[in-house]
């Protein structure tokens, strides 16, 4: 197992370097001179040509690109992602402060998606071509086709305006997290439900299921212990991707519900042209996704020994 973990970790290094290159390149897409922009923010007026030139020298912008990259990378590794133009705070601190909020709604959304999708997917497979299969197909199709921002407003109309049950925006109580999580969960459950169905159908066609059934195994034991367990292996990898997708989808959802997560932070940063924050967001999220994938891989290796042995 240790060997498997090390193998995965070593594989991550080149990908992480790639992510840092992408983040670095992105910063060079910005229109205008970063030194001039930074000065404009700090001075509150147009800087003179001398001031700009001095700032360029000080910020190391006159160095060739590879040197700038390595300097930036060295800073990034030690946790220095620059300071926000808007708040003057270190970028990494703001990201770390906001990230748990995003994890909360994405995590709750994922749990909700699992709770909806897996039972429905299993039922749809077991009772194939029955009413429940057709209903679950329609639900999944609609869930995959509705824009999340529209779903969010439909939820607000229903739960806040009509029923007065849930607060619209903010983050002071747990109730504030309900609608963001539900919005993410609805979007995530659609594809998960279809996948559960097709994987379950696949498993139910296997010889060992027929053997188990021939042995006279109780059908619930058969479904849960033999079929569902084997179905969960391919599903667990997709769960990691779903979770990553929800962290991405959180950008829109957080903006609508004013949820103080990392997505709202970056949208605000975009409108403020807070470039260090956007760049920091890219490398932070890239790193977070690598770690999530690593955890999923390790979990996968834990459930299914074939995977970790294949890497020997």
């Amino acid at each position: 197992m240790l060997r498997f973990i090390l193998h995965r970790l070593v594989y991550l290094i080149p990908v992480w370097i790639g992510i840092s290159l992408v983040a670095f390149t992105l910063a060079n897409l910005t229109p205008g001179d970063p030194a001039r922009l930074a000065l404009q923010r700090s001075l509150g007026r147009q800087p003179t040509a001398e001031e700009t030139a001095a700032a360029r020298e000080q910020m190391g912008l006159n160095d060739p690109a590879p040197i700038r990259y390595f300097n930036w990378l060295a800073d990034a590794i030690t946790g220095d992602l620059g300071t926000s133009y808007r708040t003057g705070q270190p970028v990494l601190d703001s990201l770390i402060e906001r990230f748990p909020n995003t994890l909360q709604i994405a995590g709750a959304g994922l749990l909700l998606a699992i709770a909806i999708a897996i039972p429905l997917g299993v039922l749809a497979a077991v009772y194939r071509r029955s009413a429940i299969d057709h209903v679950s197909r329609v639900v999944a199709l609609l869930g995959a086709s509705m824009p999340s921002y529209w779903v969010a407003y439909l939820l607000i109309l229903l739960f806040s305006v009509r029923l007065g049950m849930l607060p619209v925006a903010g983050s002071s109580t747990w109730q504030h997290a309900v609608m963001p999580a539900v919005t993410l969960g609805i979007g995530g459950s659609a594809s998960l439900m279809r996948l559960t169905r097709s994987e379950m159908l696949e498993t139910l066609n296997q010889d060992y299921i027929r053997t188990a059934r021939a042995k006279g195994l109780h059908s619930r034991t058969l479904l849960v212990r033999h079929a569902l367990r084997n179905t969960m292996i391919p599903i667990s990898t997709v769960l990691g991707m779903r979770f990553a997708g929800m962290l991405g989808g959180a950008v829109i959802v957080e903006t609508i519900f004013s949820w103080p997560g990392i997505g709202k932070l970056v949208v605000d940063a975009i409108f403020d042209r807070d470039y260090p924050m956007i760049q920091g967001f890219v490398i932070f999220m890239g790193t977070a996704f690598l770690l999530i994938n690593l955890i999923v891989d390790l979990g996968y290796g834990l459930i299914d020994p074939r995977i970790r042995l294949a890497n020997r």
Binding site: L141, Y149, W150, V251, V266, V267, R273, I278
Partner: protein
Amino acid sequence: MAQTTTSPTVGSQHIPRARTNLETAWRPKRFGTIRAVFNDRSAVLGLAILLLVTIAALGAGLIAPYDPTELDPTANLAPPTSDHWLGTDNLGRDLFSRLVHGARWTLGAAGLAATGIVVLGVTIGILAGYFGGLVDDLLMRLVDVLLAFPSIILALAIVGMLGPSLTNVLIGMVAVWWVDYARVVRGLTLKVVQNDYVLSAHCCGCGHRRMILRHILPNVIPSVIVLATLELGALMLAISGLSFLGLGAQPPTPEWGTMLSDGRLFFLNAPQLMMYPGIAITLVVLGCNLLGDGLRDALDPRQQMR
């Protein structure tokens, strides 16, 4: 999903992997596939929705009774009447006309982005698969890196750096979304080049360009079309989502995401401002998903058993 058609050529082929099987279903009998799609009622429904919206988009000038940006201060937030079929928005603009013209923007943007993505993805995929070696290694490492992000995150960052506009959204989308295509096409190319006719073409002195255009590209295209149809819906959702955030099409453009965003301020008194564009986007994305599923099933023999 129910299908009872003559199966395409790949019927007897062993298919080891679980998911879409685009890589293995690379050689359909052309008319068999089309017939299979037309026998699938939901795929036909999807196609009908898409055709209808495409007609609306192309004929927007003829169908829409008003100019989509024409203001009528005397009729703010009017309810549906015989003059204004779906009512008007907060500035008195005719909602129906805006929706019809919106089809042009939303569909056009997604179509343009999809074209860019397919061209880039197919080119890179074929280059990597055909030439192999260092080219392949470098391109596939780039693919690995881009796959480390959910595409919307990176697209968002690109738009953030370039500045909000529909053009920049399209650039961002093309820059991140080609990756899936490159991977699938590379896999297909690796398979195609193992065929004897490729070897014999090579022996006959067929050059790289002719080989790629005549022998590889035609084998790759069907799967790419399926993938593109399946992903068109997601692409549309992503583009209109960015427009909704205010990063894409800017008001008064009648893009559906932008219209939804404009309607936000009035949604308590006039929820229809958000309702209609939302329904429109859902319908079109639904159409893409239905058609995409149908195409995939027609090309994927495994699915037909279900």
